[in-house]
């Protein structure tokens, strides 16, 4: 079932110079889609358009049955959650307080958070296995811990689609793998779309890859079909050879000397 459909999307920060120049792709329920491509290829801009932070100049973004322009912000927020590359830790908030902010699109004006909201928070905490962090101050967390909290906050939104902007780029390799494994488990009943710089990591964990260059999609499909020497040359202008990881059987590139 398609949960997110992008057709001929054109958008950017000014009408004269769009960053995304006619992108189409679809995301099905249960997929973990990785968006890869060189710096400046429009990965982050694409994510920002999908969450409604940028106006669509032409083309359409369809969430479930609805075009994004026809949905209220609150309705969008109940369907899509966003984890930015960097999120400011709020002074004086515990991990639980921060995750509770994920319930904002469900809160009524005058009432306090309901039991449902607290249950959603507990569920997100359990999913990310951060029970031990629950009462810690968010300002005291390490990068890897904070990233899990940020993902839990997005999960508490109970979204159908989770968008993550470079969720692993400032983490050590242990946390890179940990976060990717977590994301892979989270895709049941929802879809994950994340941008990556590390092609081998994306190839290892994503069910599908979208390779972008200059605001266009130049390859899309199973990681084995996207991570090829030709595609990588076209996108990054570097020469690589592609081998199978002997244990996972996933494609990985190796730099040529």
């Amino acid at each position: 079932m398609t949960v997110l459909k992008v057709e001929d999307l054109v958008c950017g920060y000014s009408v004269k110079k769009p960053i995304i120049k006619g992108v189409s792709f679809a995301v099905n329920n249960g997929e973990f889609v990785g968006i890869v491509g060189p710096n400046g290829s429009g990965k982050t801009t694409l994510l920002r358009a999908l969450i409604g932070l940028l106006d669509v100049q032409s083309g359409t973004i369809t969430i479930g049955q609805h075009k994004i322009q026809n949905l209220e912000r609150r309705e969008v927020a109940r369907r899509i959650a966003f984890v930015p590359q960097m999120m400011e830790p709020v002074q004086g908030f515990t991990v639980e307080d921060l995750i509770l902010l994920g319930r904002t699109p469900y809160l009524e004006r005058f009432s306090f958070e309901t039991d449902d909201d607290h249950d959603a928070v507990d569920w997100a905490i359990e999913k990310l296995k951060i029970e031990n962090l629950k009462d810690r101050q968010v300002t005291e967390l390490s990068g890897g811990e904070f990233q899990r909290v940020a993902i839990a906050r997005a999960l508490a939104q109970e979204p159908k689609i989770m968008l993550l902007d470079e969720p692993t780029s400032h983490l050590d390799i242990r946390y890179q793998v940990k976060i990717c494994k977590l994301l892979r488990t989270l895709r049941t009943n929802r879809s994950i779309v994340a941008t990556f710089h590390d092609l081998n990591l994306a190839s290892r964990f994503c069910s599908r890859l979208v390779l972008m260059k200059n605001g266009e999609v130049i390859a899309e499909g199973h990681p084995d079909d996207v991570i090829t020497p030709q595609n990588i040359w076209q996108a990054y202008r570097i020469k690589v050879t592609v081998r199978k990881n002997p244990r996972t059987k996933k494609a990985r590139y190796v730099l040529l000397p």
Binding site: G52, R73, P84, V90, F93, P105, F112, E113, D115
Partner: protein
């Protein structure tokens, strides 16, 4: 599930209890303030005393209302502009109000509008004009970025300060204008109280009504949008509310500094940044602080009055620094 229900109730009970205690403190301070002053009122004359009912009571009530207006306006603006240095005057309100008041004093204009003398009315109008100009100037493509708003506020304040200096030099009424600038509740009357009450009630309502939005804004503007908040609308609404609240306070009490900057910070340091609690607790604390400061200002050197702004800064600044340091030490 059972356990969860208990936990929420416990949190809410503690919050409710804290508010109740604060309220009792406030009422106590107000009662005490009524009995203190340059004239001693004997207990048997309490109920017929003109001084008590016509001078002290309106003054105490007005002090509380101004405290509420300024502290809530500070909470709102610090939240919306996402800047810890934001206070009720940051968008040029004080500068505009000062020019308005100075013009009124310099012209010696003594007309009466809606039962109010000219000074509060001109101060009120000029305050709002200043914010309106700042907001309009900062708007680029329907979007007013917080940094632009703050910078425009600073620029307009500088411009207004120049005009104010000109008015003072030309009119020669330095002393009157200077005392107004320092802020005082000496001109309190029942008619002042009655004009300010609606602003306080509606302002407090709006602030509480928007606590969800203010909480989401803690994560930054873009995250607030992704959480379903209409950031642009919210900002316009809240800046509007804070401006009118501040203008109302300025019109009856001049420029009382510090309350709007410090109270929200104090309370945030103590109870955390959740606006559901921050707003009511700041409101009550602002009222309490203002009543206490005003009582000190009119009794400590009685019959002489020390401008309340001086008391506020003398006592408030060291206490604030103490809180700040204590937290830093504990945090590290």
């Amino acid at each position: 599930m059972k356990k969860r229900k208990k936990k929420i109730n416990k949190k809410q009970r503690i919050a409710g209890l804290a508010l109740l205690v604060l309220l009792l403190f406030l009422l106590g301070a107000m009662a005490l303030s009524l009995l203190l002053g340059s004239v001693f009122i004997s207990p048997e004359n309490l109920w017929q005393s003109e001084i008590l009912w016509q001078i002290r009571l309106p003054r105490v009530v007005l002090a509380a209302l101004v405290g509420l207006l300024l502290s809530l306006s500070g909470v709102i603006l610090q939240g919306v502009l996402r800047n810890p240095l934001a206070d009720p005057y940051i968008l040029g309100i004080s500068a505009g109000g000062a020019v308005g008041a100075a013009i009124s004093i310099a012209l010696g204009a003594q007309f009466v509008i809606f039962g109010l003398s000219s000074l509060p009315v001109t101060a009120f109008i000029f305050s709002l004009v200043a914010v309106f100009v700042v907001y309009k100037l900062s708007q680029v493509g329907g979007h007013a970025a917080p940094e632009t708003l703050i910078l425009a506020g600073v620029a307009l304040s500088a411009f207004c300060a120049a005009i104010l200096a000109l008015i003072i030099i030309v009119s020669g009424s330095l002393q009157t204008i200077y005392f107004w600038l320092l802020g005082s509740l000496a001109s309190a009357s029942w008619s002042n109280v009655i004009t300010v009450i609606p602003y306080a009630l509606i302002g407090a309502g709006i602030a509480y009504f928007f606590s969800k939005e203010l909480n989401a804004l803690l994560l930054g503007e873009e995250m607030a949008i992704t959480l379903g908040i209409e950031v642009e609308k919210t900002r316009l609404m809240l800046i509007g509310a804070a401006s009118v609240m501040t203008a109302a306070a300025v019109s009856v009490s001049g420029l009382i500094g510090f309350v709007g900057l410090i109270v929200p910070h104090w309370i945030r340091l103590i109870i955390g940044p959740n606006h559901r609690l921050l707003i009511p607790v700041s409101a009550l604390s602002g009222m309490l602080l203002m009543v206490v400061a005003d009582t000190i200002s009119r009794t400590i050197l009685s019959p002489l009055e020390i401008p309340i702004g001086i008391i506020m800064a003398l006592v408030g600044a060291p206490f604030f620094l103490y809180l700040l340091r204590r937290r830093r030490i504990r945090g590290k």
